[in-house]
């Protein structure tokens, strides 16, 4: 039976994990993620979830345990943030190549120096090349819904790759919102028991994650590249299946908002999309033809979908919540790569760094720059919004 609850983003993750009947949860605490693990510990203690809860001695160990667990063919979950994800870095490269469909919730938080606890994407953006799928979400309903979708996507025989669900630290993790929790039975129908493709079985012994020589590693890598390519269709199909089962749909790799007759578009990611909707509504009410493109997946990156969605725009903005210390933010670099040769002006908008409040005014400022560019005026191709001091 469905129920409505007031949940934080962290709790929404935990409820999702419970509904997915996850069997092994290796874990290590870190702000702002810890509440996920605490809530899961409560579920297990209260007998609401039958899972092995394994406190590790570091995030590196937590991911190592997750790899071991998943390799035996059980549904595995872990959560981390920031420095925790950085400490996992070495082990993150194993599950994609060995094809272990682990789900990891990363609560986005900036990396030091500065040791901030607030949201920035420089933790997960640095793992773009690890072979994990990455999805970014904008509210707590999407957190829960995507958790359910994540296992379906990750375990689909067409791909079988691990997936990272990224949610904004504090803005989602510590914010209570209305969340509809699906019934266990309908989740069981949507997400049947995990049938592993590649796992360790004493009756059929094999070696996993062995040393691979130059004679074989290239083929192994290309395989990963193809699997990531296959996952595009999987993501779209699972979203459609989800809509059928639960009545909510997120559009797959990207979603759009008021883009139909838009002349100016802004690509947003994470909770910037939510506040961005408010800015777009305000500007639309003023008669401006603006719209949003919600970037949901960084991996696989929606090259074709973005080309389609940005057709005919006079100017396109890209929101970045992390930097690359190389003029542009990572989302911008990827977007411009996808749209190369189209001739459309594309401008990077860096804001909300280190958790600075991303206001409607800042988002309106981004559209103002784009409007200027669309009407033929000169602009720079990268702006920092909310920065003190001349750029």
């Amino acid at each position: 039976m469905r129920s409505i609850k007031a949940l934080t983003g962290n709790q929404a993750v935990a409820y999702g994990v419970k509904l997915c009947r996850v069997e092994v949860i290796p874990n290590y605490p870190i702000t702002p993620q810890t509440i996920i693990i605490e809530q899961l510990a409560d579920f297990i203690n209260d007998g609401d979830l039958d899972a092995d809860f394994i406190p590790a001695d570091s995030e590196h160990s937590a991911m190592s345990i997750a790899i071991g667990a998943s390799a035996t063919g059980v549904r595995t979950f872990t959560a981390t943030a920031s420095h925790g994800l950085a400490l996992m870095h070495e082990m993150l490269y194993v599950p994609p190549q060995v094809r272990l469909p682990i789900v990891l919730a990363n609560v986005n938080r900036s990396l030091g120096a500065g040791s901030g606890i607030w949201v920035e994407y420089n933790d997960s953006m640095a793992e773009r090349d690890s072979g994990w799928m990455q999805v970014y979400v904008e509210d707590n309903q999407e957190v829960l819904d995507m958790l359910l979708q994540c296992y379906r996507i990750a375990e689909d025989p067409r791909a079988v790759l691990p997936i990272m669900i990224c949610l904004d630290g504090f803005i989602l993790s510590h914010t209570v919102e209305r969340v509809e929790i699906p019934g266990q039975e309908e989740v069981d129908n949507f997400l049947p028991k995990f049938k592993p493709l590649n796992f360790l079985d004493p009756k059929n012994p094999k070696s996993m994650n062995i040393a691979v020589s130059p004679a074989h590693s290239m083929e192994m890598r290309y395989q990963l590249d193809r699997l990531m390519e296959n996952s595009r269709q999987v993501i779209k199909d699972v979203d459609k299946e989800f809509a059928k089962a639960f009545g909510r749909s997120y559009g797959g790799l990207i979603d759009t908002y008021r883009m139909k007759d838009a002349e100016i578009g802004l690509i947003t990611i994470g909770t910037a999309t939510s506040t961005g909707r408010v800015a777009v509504d305000e500007l639309r009410a003023e008669g401006k033809k603006v719209g949003l493109i919600k970037l949901r997946f960084m991996r696989p990156f929606p090259h074709d979908e973005l080309r389609e969605a940005t057709k005919g725009l006079k100017a396109l903005g890209v929101f970045d919540r992390s930097i690359s210390a190389n003029r542009y933010g990572p989302v911008f670099t990827e977007v411009r790569n996808s749209l190369y040769g189209g001739g459309m002006p594309i401008i990077d908008h860096i804001a909300g760094i280190g958790g600075r409040d991303l206001t409607v005014a800042a988002l309106r400022e981004m559209f103002a720059v784009l409007e200027k560019r669309a009407s033929g005026h000169k602009t720079k191709d990268c702006y920092w919004h909310g920065l003190r001091g001349q750029m």
């Binding site: 409505i4 609850k5 803005i171 510590h174 919102e177 939510s274 409040d357 003190r388």
Partner: protein, 300 residues
């Protein structure tokens, strides 16, 4: 959309109050959002929390800058924080105070509901945790949610954490505060506190925002800045030092966790009460009873 900003002190339950009002709205089928001011929270330190309620989906994910309702859980915050900043003129303030609204000065002349939530909390919960009582006063101020929904949300939220009985008692505290709330208009004479924040441009920002101890500006940096953060305002008591009884053993100087006890040239002590939280450790270690602890605001 209805926006609420809570001002309280760590330990009073401002975040829980925000979450509970949001849950009450959700129970009524509305949309709601509640979140703390994102940062480290410490007992006694000024804290903020926010809530939004609407019939439609709430998209905005920023802090609340222009609230419709201001909830002040500790009157003393008016002296140290720009509490009323941004409150809409047609909005209202809910304050934990023994005074009637007309006797209160929030720095903005607005509709005001006052309730002695501390007394209600001590009567009902035997502790000055005022969040459930203040929720009752909030419903008195505006019927955006029903009292029954707030009570149900309290039972859900507090019951889950503290047991069913605690849930019921807290729900009762809300009802009592609702009944005792006084309505009126507060005065607006007080100038809003102006915080002197150190906000350098990127060119002025030192490498790694690291500052040497000789740089006065270092006191102004970050959430723990000394010049802004007079942690002595967090406590409810202060030590009183009797120099004549002091044998200069230095034990209090050694034990003070805040470094508020200053050793003078002659080995007698000086107390910097601006940063004293009144923990009383100096009182405990003094072998001669030269230090006593005093409740603030109580004449001895």
């Amino acid at each position: 959309m209805y926006e609420i900003r809570f001002h309280g002190r760590g330990g009073q339950g401002a975040v829980m109050a925000a979450q509970t009002i949001a849950e009450a709205a959700i129970l009524e089928g509305k949309q709601a959002q509640a979140f703390p001011y994102f940062g480290a929270e410490r007992r006694g330190a000024p804290v903020m929390a926010f809530a939004r309620i609407d019939d439609e989906r709430i998209c905005i994910k920023t802090q609340v800058y222009e609230p419709d309702m201001l909830v002040i859980m500790d009157e003393s915050l008016l002296d140290i924080e720009p509490v009323a900043a941004g409150l809409k003129k047609e909005g209202c303030a809910v304050i934990n105070s023994r005074s009637a609204p007309g006797d209160l000065d929030l720095g903005l002349e607005v509709r005001c509901i006052s309730v002695d939530a501390t007394s209600v909390a001590i009567e009902m919960l035997k502790a000055p945790i005022v969040n459930t009582a203040i929720l009752g006063a909030m419903v008195k101020a505006n019927d955006f949610v029903r009292l029954e929904s707030v009570q149900q949300a309290i039972i859900n939220r507090f019951g889950e954490k503290l047991g069913e009985k605690a849930g019921r008692i807290n729900a009762e505290a809300a009802k009592i505060a609702f009944d005792r709330s006084q309505e009126g208009v507060c005065r607006g004479k007080r100038p809003l506190i102006k915080k002197r924040l150190w906000l350098p441009t990127w060119q002025e920002t030192p490498p790694g925002v690291a500052l040497g101890k000789e740089e006065r500006v270092g006191m102004k940096v970050g959430p723990g800045s000394m010049s802004q953060n007079l942690t002595g305002t967090w406590g409810t008591s202060n030590p009183l030092y009797d120099q004549d009884k002091c044998i200069r053993c230095q034990r209090c100087w050694f034990i003070c966790p805040e470094g508020c006890i200053i050793r003078k040239e002659d080995d007698l002590m000086e107390f910097d009460l601006r940063y004293c939280k009144g923990c009383g450790m100096c009182v405990k270690v003094c072998p001669k009873g030269a230090i006593t602890i005093l409740k603030k605001g109580v004449k001895q």
